[in-house]
């Protein structure tokens, strides 16, 4: 496991032409690992008929709402949690 709960991470800002489950609104954003969900098959390759192996670690990453939506008028303390695979995360 590359990251532990509590560690700060940044989501890669890269584009990915094919199927992937990292939403655009978190790309390039910083957050904190909330949970380590465990290992799962990679949907990016499963989506094209491959077996998705080797499994990758999936993290629940917590983002401050203000980090994602700086213009938001309400909810200064709010958060959004997104499940992101290890290969999309970098140490902060």
């Amino acid at each position: 496991m590359t990251f532990r709960a509590g560690e700060r991470v940044r989501v890669a800002a890269r584009t990915h032409e094919g199927h992937h489950r990292t939403p655009g609104y978190v790309k390039g954003k910083s957050g904190r690992v909330e949970r380590v969900h465990g290992r799962f098959r990679n949907p990016e390759t499963r989506a094209y008929g491959a077996d998705g192996l080797p499994e990758r670690v999936l993290y629940q990453v917590c983002f401050a709402q203000q980090e994602l939506w700086p213009e938001a008028r309400r909810g200064a303390g709010d958060t959004t949690l997104v499940d992101i695979f290890e290969h999309w995360l970098e140490a902060e």
Binding site: G18, H19, G24, Y25, V26, P43, R46, A47, Y48
Partner: protein, 90 residues
Amino acid sequence: MHDRGVWPTDMPIDRSEHELADWELLTDALVSALSSEGFMNVDELRRGIESMPPDEYERASYYERWLFSAETILVEKGVLAPGELDARLT
């Protein structure tokens, strides 16, 4: 088009509900059966949906997207011939 978090909107949410029509239940059931039989996994279903032309994606209902995806993946895998489903309708 599927990545809705990057498509901001102010539109109100339509909270009306409709009971699933028979064809929608059928579509769901077919996709489950295809998955159980190993012809299409959930990631392929999603990828198929994401391959819809953007304007079609926005116009289509939820199960219309599933149907589009199932046909796309099955043709890709040679389970259906291109146009075979269309031919069956005429």
